[in-house]
Symmetry: C2
Subunit: 398 residues, 2 copies
């Protein structure tokens, strides 16, 4: 009898964003330039003062930090959150290894094996991976590209709620759809979690990047304090993805204490990028104005180009740096692979994320792709030239 891997190791999905990587590498080896719109890795420079803070930090020993993160950093973060009208203390923050670990801690601390968590789909694909690690069942409720991916109606949530439902995940503004939930929609979520006694896990990685209105944090919802767990990260707001620094924040003391035990088991978050994160709190106020203006320009360019293509529909995303587009194709997995394997336009091609990986319900998203507008306007235009040319010759029409 051969040794076997675990069932969860078998069921664990390969990353829908990264599984095309070998095809991209092969294209590059053939000399083809690949525009990466498949992954949320911004080309925006990490603020120099933040990088310099790490360079200039003097130490003799690279020690473990506190399991909850450096106290100086947590104290500083209080002022960052205060600027966002989020009122917390340093002791309500656990610094995590990226937003990823904050999500995992939330699932582990609040949910047990077999518990259910409701997530509007399409959703960030790695929630599936964390759910499998925590042996939790994801119950998707569908939002549609036709409605611009607005929050599904309250009835859809209530239909999905069972005795095993323990939480709702909301990502606002949303990855992959770019949808920005309104204050009214957040209030709706509050009513649901209060009525059914659920946790509200709020992934707010893109808080700063809202182009059509203000951001409503789950932490703003009065009366839901015990229900809300904020899962945050510095990856996107400061273009610091490689630092792996996030935060787990809640006013629910029992949840915080439980999460802290998971934090202690892994000893501490990475030290270096905590220095970077601490310096970032001191960035001038125009940092986000400038960054946001740049992303807005990219979004406007991308969305305009997409909707000008025959058979393509892209709702205007209100936040984050993603857009979902419906394409006249048979199968987005095949199409995205074909773009890398069999297509080029003037020596260039484009890498996209098939939307199927963001839906939990089989069959959904087959003619949709996610585009991350993380490249500059010139590159986006060239990437759109590629897509436009590709759609004219792709053999598998939808």
């Amino acid at each position: 009898m051969a040794l076997e891997i675990s069932k969860r190791g078998f069921e664990m999905p390969a990353s829908p964003i990264r599984k095309l990587v070998p095809f991209a590498e092969a294209a590059k080896k053939k000399g083809i330039k690949v525009y990466h719109l498949n992954i949320g890795q911004p080309d925006i420079e990490t603020p120099k003062t933040c990088l310099d803070a790490v360079k200039h930090y003097d130490m003799k020993v690279l020690e473990y930090s506190h399991s909850a993160g450096n106290e100086s950093y947590r104290k500083k973060l209080v002022s960052y959150y205060a600027k966002n009208n989020i009122d917390i203390t340093p002791n309500e923050i656990i610094i995590t290894t990226g937003g990823s670990e904050a999500i995992l801690f939330g699932f582990m601390a609040c949910l047990d094996a077999g518990d259910e968590v409701i997530i509007p789909e399409p959703f960030y694909a790695n929630y599936n991976g964390f759910a499998i690690q925590a042996d939790v069942v994801v119950k998707p409720i569908s939002s549609s590209i036709e409605s611009g991916f607005a929050l599904p109606p309250i009835e859809d949530f209530e239909k999905a709620i069972t005795s095993k439902t323990k939480a709702i995940v909301v990502c606002n503004p949303n990855n992959p759809t770019g949808y920005l939930y309104s204050e009214a929609e957040m209030e709706t979520l509050k009513q649901i979690v209060l009525k059914h006694n659920l946790y509200l896990f709020a992934d707010e990685a893109y808080r700063e990047f809202c182009y059509e209105g203000a951001h409503t944090s789950a932490m703003h919802l009065k009366g839901a304090e015990d229900h809300v767990v904020l899962m945050d990260t510095i990856s996107k707001r400061y273009s610091a993805c490689g630092g792996r620094i996030g935060a787990f924040i809640t006013k629910n003391k029992a949840v915080l204490d439980a999460a802290m035990k998971f934090a202690q088991a892994r000893l501490s978050p990475p030290f270096y990028a905590q220095i970077l994160g601490e310096a970032a709190v001191d960035l001038p106020d125009d940092y986000f104005d400038n960054t946001k203006a740049e992303y807005k320009l990219r979004r406007d360019t991308l969305v305009k180009r997409l909707n000008a293509m025959e058979g393509v529909f892209c709702p205007n995303p209100g936040g984050a740096f993603y857009a979902m587009a419906k394409l006249p194709i048979d199968d987005s997995d095949k199409f995205c692979q074909w773009l890398l394997e069999s297509f080029e336009h003037e020596g260039q091609t484009i890498m996209l994320a098939p939307a199927t990986g963001f839906y939990s319900t089989p069959g959904l998203g087959k003619n949709e792709v996610r585009l991350a507008y993380v490249l500059n306007v010139d590159s986006i235009n060239k990437a759109m030239d590629c897509l436009e040319a590709a759609l004219k010759v792709y053999p598998g029409k939808g």
Copy 2:
């Protein structure tokens, strides 16, 4: 009905090493100097060339690295392992967020809920935490301070093996005992895992620190290649605990592929300390000679002082930087707290780790403590002065 945390959040043990921290903080506030022998945080300086490599690394964007870690680092690591007679390729390595994540990946990729893993106790307490996260059952088999914590006899393993047993964990040299498993003992483990078709998870965080003979890696065991998963870290060998860089290494392709999916879900390991780790591979060969000599001096000092105290027994540890000592006390948890709360010797005291947290079998370790000899000889002597004085006046004799 109030919101409830998860059962695993409730069952998750608080860190036995860190739970005394508030008492240490209170002692310090009273002006008492505390010698920290409770935690494996070395005072040995991180090599300057490694810290400088990070300082001098130029980048514009702190990007995600590859989910398996930077390729340049993995290539470099091959030569590090080759020096240790471990023959691997860059594609057999996944860089992890500390050794902690490597352990978690191993549990997640190889074991399912309810599966059993055998670990000789006392063992690194956080294995319990990772087991709870993976919903895996730890089956301890006892080693004893009288035998210096040698590997329990083969019959003890075979008595503990059931149809649910899937793995054995071996930490060599051992935390918390400092025991260095001999080649013969490692061969015994090989026979067991081959006969019963089990995984052998090898935690070799202290590989370089062997004072009484050579290190036998689980990766040296011929014919067990598919069974062995190496869980490694740079934390101890380069005094780089805060970097959070480890490695998950196996020649079992199915296990590696499964672990890679968990690695993709969390996107990437921290970028900065990969630079440090890469530079560390180029350290001159005498780096470990010098570091080892320093630790050996500390060990010799500590063990001699302990065994000179009335009623104290400390077997000579062959590796790592920990020693276990049997003390003439009633309860090591009470004693360690009392040292911080109610004792001082010339304005100083000592923080130790109660051994109970390292045993899974209730009642074991009540008169034992773990001492990490991570401070210099002068501090160790002063800490031993404190312990000697404390044992004379501690009211709860054993």
